[in-house]
C-alpha cells in the first residue's frame, strides 16, 4: 500500500463515501474539473459526475443554504468553503439553521451536512487565507467541530463526519496538508467523533493541541524527552464536543499541562479546556495551566506569520515553567 498525505486522505475518504452512499454529494467553488484549489477533490468529478461533484456559483451563504436544504431532504452534502476566511457569509445559515434544525423541529428535520474548509497559517498565503477561528464555530450549540492532524485521522474522521446525522464543521490544517505521508487503508472504517487521541503517553506533563500546531507540539515533546521528561501528547481532534474524559484522565496522571493552539488566545478553545480542567481536575494540578497560543491580533500577513504561530521554543519554555513550578 502506498503512503498518502493528509490532503490525499481527504480525497480518499470523499471518494469512498461517494462510491458507497448515493446520497453523498459534494458542492463548492472550483471543486469539479479543477479539483479544488488544494486538489482535495481531484478527479472526483470525473469519477462520479458533475451532478454529484458540483461546481457552485461563487456565494458562500448560498453554499451553506444549499447544503442545509439538501440535507433536510436526506442527502448527505459535503460542502467546501475554499478557505475558512471565506466561510463567514455562511455563518448565518450555519448558526441559525444547520445547527438548529433538529432542535427547532423536535427531530422532524435534521441536518447531516459537512462543511469542509482549509484553515490556519504557514503557507505564505495572502490576507484572509490563514486564520484559525474554530472557536467562533465551536461556540455554536448544535454544531460539531472536527480537526484532523494526520492522514489516518483525516480519513477516519471525515468518514465519521459524513455519516454523522448532525452538521459537522471539518477544518483541514492546510500547513500539514502535504507534510507527512502515512499508510491509510481505504477500508471505509470511520474513527469515533467526540474522541481525543493520545498520541504519546507520559507521566510528567501533558501537552494538548490540535491541527497543525501538533507538529510543533510533538517536536517540543521530543525536545523535552531528550531531557528525560516523560511527556504525554493529546490531539483534541474533536473541538466540539470536547473529550473531557481523556483530558482529565491525563491531568490526573501528570498534574501539569500546556495547551497549544494557533488561534488567538482570548476566548479560544484553550480557555474552554482550561475551564474544564479547573472544574474537574483542580486538585490534581501541580502547576498553573499554561497556554501557548496565537496573539489577540489578526493573523499577520505572511512575512510575520511565523512570529505569530506558536513555536517549539515557546512550547518548551511554557512546559518548563510548568515543570519548575514547585
Amino acid at each position: 500500500m502506498s503512503k498518502i498525505t493528509l490532503l490525499e486522505a481527504v480525497t480518499q475518504a470523499l471518494g469512498y463515501e461517494l462510491a458507497h452512499d448515493e446520497n453523498v454529494v459534494l458542492l463548492g467553488e472550483d471543486i469539479g474539473l479543477n479539483g479544488g484549489v488544494f486538489r482535495a477533490t481531484d478527479g472526483l468529478q470525473a469519477r462520479f459526475g458533475a451532478n454529484r461533484v458540483m461546481d457552485t456559483p461563487l456565494a458562500e451563504s448560498m453554499i451553506a443554504g444549499l447544503a442545509i436544504g439538501m440535507a433536510a431532504q436526506g442527502l448527505k452534502p459535503v460542502a467546501e468553503f475554499q478557505f475558512m476566511g471565506f466561510s463567514y457569509p455562511a455563518l448565518d445559515n450555519i448558526l441559525n439553521h444547520a445547527a438548529r434544525l433538529r432542535n427547532r423541529t423536535r427531530g422532524r428535520l435534521h441536518c447531516p451536512a459537512v462543511f469542509r474548509a482549509p484553515y490556519g497559517g504557514g503557507i505564505h498565503a495572502p490576507e484572509h487565507h490563514s486564520e484559525s477561528t474554530e472557536a467562533i464555530y465551536a461556540h455554536i450549540p448544535g454544531l460539531q467541530v472536527v480537526i484532523p492532524s494526520s492522514p489516518a485521522r483525516a480519513y477516519g474522521l471525515l468518514l465519521a463526519a459524513i455519516r454523522s446525522s448532525d452538521p459537522v464543521l471539518f477544518l483541514e490544517p492546510k500547513r500539514i496538508y502535504r507534510l507527512v505521508k502515512q499508510e491509510v487503508p481505504d477500508n471505509g472504517e470511520a474513527l469515533p467523533l467526540e474522541k481525543a487521541f493520545v498520541l504519546r503517553e507520559g507521566s510528567d506533563i501533558t501537552l494538548i493541541s490540535w491541527g497543525a500546531s501538533l507538529h510543533e507540539t510533538q517536536q517540543a515533546a521530543d525536545a523535552l524527552a531528550q531531557e528525560g521528561i516523560s511527556v504525554e501528547v493529546i490531539d483534541i481532534a474533536s473541538i466540539k464536543p470536547l473529550d473531557t474524559e481523556t483530558i482529565i484522565r491525563s491531568l490526573n496522571k501528570t498534574g501539569r499541562c500546556v495547551i497549544v493552539h494557533e488561534a488567538a488566545k482570548s476566548g479560544g478553545i484553550g480557555a474552554e479546556i482550561a475551564a474544564q480542567i479547573a472544574e474537574k481536575a483542580l486538585l490534581s494540578l501541580l502547576a498553573p495551566i499554561q497556554r501557548v497560543t496565537g496573539y489577540d491580533a489578526t493573523m499577520p500577513y505572511f512575512k510575520l506569520e511565523y512570529s505569530y504561530i506558536p513555536s517549539v521554543a515557546r512550547i518548551v519554555h511554557a512546559a518548563k515553567l510548568s515543570l519548575e513550578f514547585a
Binding site: E29, A297, S307, S311
Partner: protein
C-alpha cells in the same frame, strides 16, 4: 401584459483591429491616448515582473492583470483624486495611479501590511473577501451623500463575485438611496475555474443593476477608450446627484487566476488563443500607428522606460526593512489594551525568532 422592460447598451470605440467603431469622445486628446497606452504598457511590465518575483520566491500569491489592463488603467485615469476607490484584488492598474506605487503593491502581495498604505488616504486597501467591498463602498457613498460633497465612489468586482449576496445588497441600497457610486465589473470570463456561463444564466451582468433600480451597461473592456469614457460619464453622473451606474467591462483573463493557479486544467486552448487577438494594447497600438502617432522606435523606447521604472520599484521593494514583530499587535487598537500587556511581552520575547 408587460410591466417592465429594459435594454442594455454596449459601448465600443476601438475595434480589435484598431479601427474606430464610432468617433472618439471629445474629452480625450491625442496626448491622453498616448498616456493611456503608456500606462497599459507600464502595468503589463509590472505584472510580468511581479509574476517572475513570485516564481523565484520573492513574492507571495499574485493575481495578474494580463489582458485586463484597460480596466484598471481607465479607472485610475478617470477618477479624480477626491473620489474614493474601493478596489478588489485585481486592481493594480488603478491603484498605482492612485498613490499606491508598485513597490507598495508588491509589499502587500509580499506579505507585509505596510503595502496597504496609499497616498490617496481615503482609498480602501485591496479587498480579498469577495463582494464585501461592494457593501462597504455603499457606506462610503452614503457618507459622501450625507455631507453633500461632489465626489464619487468607484468599486470593482469580478463577474464571479456578482453571484454573492453582498453584491446584490449593495446594488439594492445604491439604487434605493440614489448613491454616488459606480460599480465596475471586470468580466474576464472566468472565476478561477468556473466560466461565465456556469456562473450565471443572466444574459448580461450589466442588467443586474436593473433589479437595483438603476442603469447598467456593457463596455468593451479591452477598449481603454470605451472603458475610460463610460467610467468618466458614470462618475460625473454620480458626483452631480444622478445616482449609481453599473459598468460591465467585457474582457478576458489571459493569465492564470493567480500565480497559485494553473488555468490549463480548465481553460480551452482555442478560447485563449482567440482572446489574444482582442487584447487591449494591440488595438490601441494599431490605432496610434495608423494615425502616425506611433512607430517601432517609440515602442522600443517606451518598453525600455517601463522596464526602468519597474526595476526601480522592484529595487525599492526588495530593500524594504522588515517590520518589527510588535507591528503584529501595535495597530490592532488605538492603544494596545493594558490587560493584554503580557501577550505583547511574550511577542517581544519570542517573536523575533522565526521558526519556519
Amino acid at each position: 401584459m408587460s410591466v417592465a422592460t429594459f435594454s442594455i447598451d454596449y459601448h465600443q470605440y476601438l475595434k480589435p483591429d484598431g479601427t474606430l467603431a464610432q468617433a472618439l469622445p471629445t474629452e480625450l486628446s491625442p496626448e491622453d491616448l498616448l498616456a493611456l497606452y503608456r500606462l497599459m504598457h507600464l502595468l503589463r511590465t509590472f505584472d510580468n515582473r511581479a509574476i517572475n518575483l513570485q516564481r523565484v520566491g520573492k513574492l507571495g500569491t499574485y493575481p495578474g492583470t494580463l489582458g485586463q489592463e484597460a480596466i484598471g488603467v481607465a479607472i485610475g485615469y478617470a477618477m479624480k483624486k477626491e473620489d474614493v476607490l474601493v478596489p478588489y484584488y485585481r486592481d493594480s492598474g488603478a491603484q498605482f495611479q492612485r498613490g499606491m506605487p508598485f513597490h507598495r503593491i508588491l509589499q502587500y502581495w509580499g506579505g507585509d501590511e505596510r503595502g496597504s498604505d496609499c497616498d490617496n488616504a481615503e482609498d480602501f486597501p485591496t479587498c480579498v473577501p469577495i463582494a464585501s467591498q461592494s457593501v462597504i463602498a455603499t457606506g462610503v457613498a452614503t457618507a459622501i451623500q450625507y455631507r453633500k460633497q461632489e465626489r464619487a465612489v468607484l468599486t470593482t468586482i469580478g463577474e464571479g463575485g456578482t453571484s454573492e449576496g453582498d453584491f446584490y445588497e449593495a446594488l439594492n441600497v445604491a439604487g434605493a438611496w440614489n448613491l454616488p457610486i459606480v460599480f465596475v465589473v471586470n468580466n474576464n470570463q472566468w472565476a478561477i475555474s468556473v466560466s461565465r456561463e456556469q456562473q450565471t444564466s443572466t444574459q448580461t451582468i450589466a442588467q443586474k443593476a436593473i433589479a437595483g433600480g438603476f442603469s447598467g451597461e456593457q463596455v468593451d473592456g479591452n477598449d481603454v477608450i470605451a472603458v475610460y469614457e463610460r467610467i468618466r460619464v458614470a462618475l460625473e453622473k454620480a458626483r452631480s446627484g444622478g445616482g449609481p451606474t453599473l459598468i460591465e467591462a467585457i474582457t478576458y483573463r489571459l493569465c492564470d487566476h493567480t500565480t497559485a493557479d494553473d488555468a490549463n486544467r480548465y481553460r480551452p486552448k482555442a478560447e485563449l488563443e482567440a482572446a489574444w487577438l482582442k487584447e487591449p494594447l494591440l488595438r490601441l497600438r494599431a490605432y496610434l500607428n495608423a494615425h502616425q502617432a506611433w512607430d517601432d522606435i517609440k515602442e522600443e523606447q517606451l518598453l525600455q522606460e517601463c522596464r526602468q521604472s519597474v526595476d526601480k520599484e522592484v529595487d525599492t521593494y526588495l530593500n524594504v526593512k522588515p517590520a518589527p514583530v510588535t507591528d503584529i499587535v501595535d495597530y490592532m487598537y488605538a492603544r494596545w489594551p493594558h490587560n493584554l500587556k503580557d501577550q505583547r511581552d511574550t511577542l517581544l520575547q519570542f517573536g523575533e525568532t522565526h521558526h519556519e
